[in-house]
């Protein structure tokens, strides 16, 4: 299958208190089009840093990331913004909706800012996404008026509004209770099945079990890879979870 994103010898070094901290060390990675990839690993292993660097949100120290045939290191801040806006979608652990905007405005803002489509069409698509994620009744709501799970689903709608080629999710269920987490995962599952590539960082085995490929990071590098079949039904989740758990145990998780 075709690669949508490739990281070559990716390194990230922070300078903290005059000491260098190597967070990513010559990391290599390929993300295939349409796949559901999960990145796991202990705290501090560099999972989130990897996500921020390959999405152009943070500047890599060395190496290269190629996304949709473009070398990110050669793009300037504006070009990187444009790629994030139009070709990538983001879902964060802390949800991070814009405080002073309502639910609907939070969803459509990226598309309005991109300015490539008619506003009516954007609104129409936003409604479809909201229907798909089960929050259609929240169109007129403020973000302070709804639950955490609903907010995260709205955040997923925002991430998808520009029909991105890849969706990055950083601990998307980290701040949610278990039932809300399940709702969110089934939404992501559905999107992936419809063709959106997903790269997700998570701690949670239950969440990772929704993906088809799991990378295990230790100390700034990918130390292992585990493949599952494409997720089909909820009934098989238990089984996927237990086989993944066994592998993770071997990896020292």
């Amino acid at each position: 299958m075709e690669n949508i994103l490739e990281a070559k010898n990716l390194s990230k070094t922070y300078l903290l208190n005059r000491r260098q901290h190597h967070i990513l060390k010559n990391l290599n990675l390929k993300v295939k089009k349409g796949e559901f990839l999960a990145v796991m690993g202990p705290s501090g292993s560099g999972k989130s840093t990897l996500l921020y660097n390959i999405s152009g949100m943070d500047k890599m120290t060395a190496g290269e990331v190629v996304f949709a045939n473009e070398k990110l290191s050669q793009l300037n801040e504006d070009q990187l913004s444009a790629i994030r806006l139009k070709k990538m979608g983001f879902v964060f652990q802390q949800i991070n909706l814009l405080k002073n905007l309502g639910i609907m405005d939070n969803i459509i803002i990226s598309a309005f800012m991109a300015g490539d489509e008619k506003r009516d069409e954007i609104s129409k698509r936003a409604h479809e996404l909201m229907k798909k994620t089960g929050i259609i009744e929240l169109t007129e709501n403020e973000i302070t008026q709804v639950s955490g799970g609903q907010l995260q689903r709205a955040a997923i709608c925002r991430a998808l509004i520009n029909q991105p080629q890849i969706l990055f999710a950083d601990e998307p269920t980290g701040a949610l209770n278990s039932s809300a987490a399940e709702d969110v995962m089934s939404v992501l599952q559905k999107i992936n099945q419809e063709g959106t590539t997903i790269m997700m960082v998570t701690h949670d085995v239950k969440v990772a079990a929704h993906s088809e490929r799991i990378l295990y990071m230790i100390d700034g590098n990918i130390e292992g890879e585990y493949n599952l079949d494409k997720f089909k039904e909820n009934s098989e989740l238990k089984e996927r979870e237990s086989s993944l758990s066994r592998w993770l145990l071997n990896m020292g998780f």
Binding site: S81, L85, M104, I108, F112, I122, E142, T144
Partner: protein
């Protein structure tokens, strides 16, 4: 406790250095200006008193041109108990074209009456810059301060006067501080020469006498003035009294001091607004902590105290520093006063009053912070801990949603939306922009007004091309008629109207006769703008100047009694006009001229040809006349005022731009710090820096434009009223601003927009570095 407070103050000052520094500076500047302004007023008052004392100023002066019987005056004043001293001094008025002050250029263009005098014997002394009586030897001359300043003269410079056959050379050995003719707004100046030289200069010009009196009791001035006017003693010329002298000396610097104090109050207002902004911001930031403190049982009062001490500390130190700086700057504030009026001995009041004024600034700030801090009571412990922030939307946002907007650029929409939804947050910026616009527009409009050709109407004169003043001399009636005949035959004269100002008796509100100079002639030819009513057309009609109408407490349509040719006649008041000349108290009537008591003659005319050529022609053909181009006259008499006003306008422009830049930058920096996580989210999801910056520029410019509109409206309404109120003291109660559309509505707004945009862009630089790591940092 003190240690804890010290620590809190220190930490907080460090954390909010920029905005705290700004508040500190505003309070300090406010204290500095109010201390400086009040010191200036005290200095002005002391210096004037000292000058009037040292020069032994006259209480009443009657100018007179023509024959004079000294014996008569002497006898009359000896009989008057109220008279302490009297003195007759002669002045020689020489035409400017004969006078060369330190150079080869004559004073032919001057509108000043250049008078040469001997030092007075008994009072009304002309002083040097050390407030000592001037003594000049043969060949020496003392020159008015006006010329020292205008021509940048030095002692030892030369001056020459050209006679018909002989030339007189003088060395400048002193500068004249002249209690009577000091102010530049008085268009007469006295040069002091030695008695011998005075005799020699006599044939070069016209003689004019000043009959001066000092009274035993100043309170009897009005009574004395009336008594004098009822006599047959010489009265062909204007009169000046002690009050008028004081006002003329005080008006320029007094107005400047008032403006400085006004600016100080405005700065204080800005400081208070900034303070309110910081207090509310701090409360919001510390909301959770305050809640926790309340929850664990610390009393609101105690928490409030911790915050209060901080502002108390800032208010007191800033005001004190402002006061200390004002002492250093006193020389600058009092420069003009020191030059024109001189220095008075120092007194304790000069130190004490400015100090108290600075303290009042501090007091304002302290009381204000106490008021704002009352919000502490409203914070509920539970809500504060649970919510962590109060949220700052003032209006429900769903009514103003981005997804409902069809066409407007999204960043611009979000900017506008934010200003409307969080309007309370933008109040500081809004008010500062209104004030800024107001502070620039008012002086600019006033400057345009005073420079416009129409300003002459505030001087009680209808607009005309040329004004001819005919000096008192023998056969004046004859010459007056000759000139009129000449004008009648001059094809280039479009219209003209002669006016004769004579003294009449008027019965005042107490039923007593009072003397008044009334200008007679046909006032329909050169129309004056009347505040109320119109020109007097019939023989029993009269128009009064604003101050005179105030004094007599008369309105249009009412009547007053006037003695004409010895018979009382009731006159109907047809109009009230503005006049800042002659102390603002003049009257006009269309009655037959009384040549016997005529004080001066003028002719206004409009011509079709070249104005300068016409003036030159008349100067050649008419003797002993003063021919002025009203524009030129105006330019020169008001030159000093216009210069001062230009300086004031320019300074206010610079100050306002500095304040605007400072406040905008503070505001945007604080706002972006507050919105930091939101901006980071926007950047993370791919909204470009350009779009984020556009949103913030929209916010600032939206508020700015509203501020400019409101500021301009306020300047044109309230500003006009304030200027009118200030000028009503001198006789112009209703100033109509002449607005230069280009300056007021294009250049100034564009300038503000430019500076604000650049400041916003500069202040937004810090968001370039915001990253995903800042999302969760509030």
């Amino acid at each position: 406790m003190i240690l804890v407070i010290y620590k809190i103050i220190k930490n907080d000052l460090l954390k909010k250095k920029v905005i705290m520094t700004a508040v500190f500076i505003f309070i300090m500047l406010s204290a500095l200006l109010i201390a400086g302004g009040s010191r200036m007023l005290i200095d002005l008052n002391n210096s004037i008193n000292s000058l009037f004392d040292k020069s032994s100023a006259a209480h009443f002066i009657q100018s007179h041109t023509g024959e004079l019987n000294e014996e008569e005056i002497l006898n009359w004043s000896r009989e008057k108990e109220s008279v302490k001293k009297h003195q007759i001094s002669e002045m020689i008025s020489i035409d400017g074209s004969k006078i060369f002050i330190n150079g080869e250029k004559s004073e032919s263009d001057t509108v000043m009456d250049l008078n040469f005098v001997k030092q007075n014997q008994d009072f009304d002394y002309m002083l040097n810059l050390n407030n000592q009586k001037i003594k000049v030897n043969k060949g020496e001359i003392a020159v008015p301060i006006y010329y020292l300043q205008r021509l940048d003269l030095n002692l030892g410079d030369s001056m020459k006067i050209e006679g018909d056959k002989k030339q007189f050379n003088f060395k400048i050995t002193s500068f004249v501080r002249d209690v009577q003719m000091n102010p530049s707004i008085i268009s007469s100046k006295r040069f002091v020469v030695n008695a011998d030289d005075f005799e020699k200069l006599s044939p070069l010009g016209e003689s004019e006498y000043q009959i001066a009196f000092q009274l035993n009791d100043l309170n009897q001035l009005q009574q004395f003035r009336d008594e004098y006017s009822r006599t047959e003693l010489p009265q062909k010329g204007p009169t000046i009294d002690y009050q008028l002298l004081k006002m003329a000396n005080a008006v320029t610097d007094g107005l400047i001091a008032a403006v400085i104090i006004l600016i100080s109050l405005l700065l204080n207002l800005i400081a208070l607004l900034c303070l309110r902004f910081i207090i509310l911001l701090t409360l919001e930031e510390d909301y959770r902590e305050i809640g926790v403190m309340k929850a664990i049982g610390i009393k609101s009062k105690k928490i409030k105290k911790i915050y209060f001490y901080k502002y108390l500390f800032i208010a007191l130190t800033a005001s004190l520093m402002g006061y200390i700086f004002s002492i250093a700057l006193n020389k600058l504030f009092a420069k003009n006063i020191a030059l024109y009026i001189g220095k008075a001995p120092e007194s304790l009041i000069q130190v004490l009053i400015p100090f108290l004024a600075a303290l009042i600034v501090a007091l304002f700030v302290i009381i204000f912070s106490l008021i704002v801090l009352r919000r502490f009571k409203k914070i509920s412990a539970v809500e504060a801990i649970r919510m962590g922030s109060r949220g700052d939307l003032n209006i429900n946002s769903s009514s103003f949603s981005l997804f409902k907007s069809k066409y407007l650029n999204s960043s611009i929409f979000l900017g506008l939306r934010d200003v409307i939804l969080r309007y309370k947050l933008y109040a500081v910026l809004f008010i500062v922009f209104i004030l800024s616009t107001f502070i620039i527009i008012v002086p600019v409009n006033f400057l345009n007004t005073i420079q416009s050709a129409d300003f002459i109407s505030y001087m009680g004169v209808g607009k005309s091309d040329i004004i001819i003043d005919i000096r008192q001399s023998k056969n004046i009636e004859q010459r007056f008629k000759e000139i009129i005949n000449y004008l009648e035959d001059d094809a280039e004269v479009e219209k003209f109207s002669p006016y004769i100002t004579s003294q009449y008796e008027i019965i005042n509100q107490d039923g007593e006769a009072e003397n008044l100079m009334v200008e007679t002639g046909d006032f329909s030819i050169f129309q004056l703008d009347y505040l109320e009513g119109g020109a007097p057309l019939l023989e029993n009609e009269i128009a009064l100047s604003y101050l005179l109408a105030e004094q007599f407490n008369k309105k249009v349509g009412e009547e007053m009694e006037m003695i004409i040719k010895g018979r009382p006649q009731r006159m109907l008041i047809t109009g009230i006009y503005q006049d800042i000349t002659d102390g603002g108290k003049t009257a006009k009537a269309n009655i037959e001229a009384d040549f016997s008591s005529a004080a001066w003659y003028t002719i206004n005319l409009d011509i079709s040809g070249n104005r300068a050529e016409k003036i030159a022609e008349y100067k050649q053909n008419f003797e002993d006349v003063k021919i002025t181009d009203p524009d030129e006259y105006f330019q020169q008499t008001f030159k000093n005022t216009i210069d001062q006003l230009e300086l004031l306008t320019f300074s206010s422009l610079v100050i306002v731009i500095l304040i605007t830049v400072l406040i905008t930058s503070l505001f945007i920096k604080t706002l972006t710090a507050k919105d930091k996580s939101q901006i980071a989210v926007k950047k993370a999801i791919g909204i470009s820096l350009k779009n984020i910056k556009l949103e913030y520029i929209t916010k600032a410019l939206f508020v700015l434009n509203l501020g400019i509109i409101l500021g301009t409206i306020t300047a044109n309404t309230l500003g006009e009223k304030i200027v009118s109120a200030a000028l009503s003291i001198v006789g112009a109660a209703e100033i109509n601003f002449k607005i230069s559309v280009f300056q007021s509505y294009i250049i100034i707004p564009l300038l503000l927009i430019l500076f604000v945009s650049l400041t916003v862009l500069w202040s937004l630089k810090s968001i370039n570095d915001l990253s995903i790591a800042d999302i969760n940092v509030e």
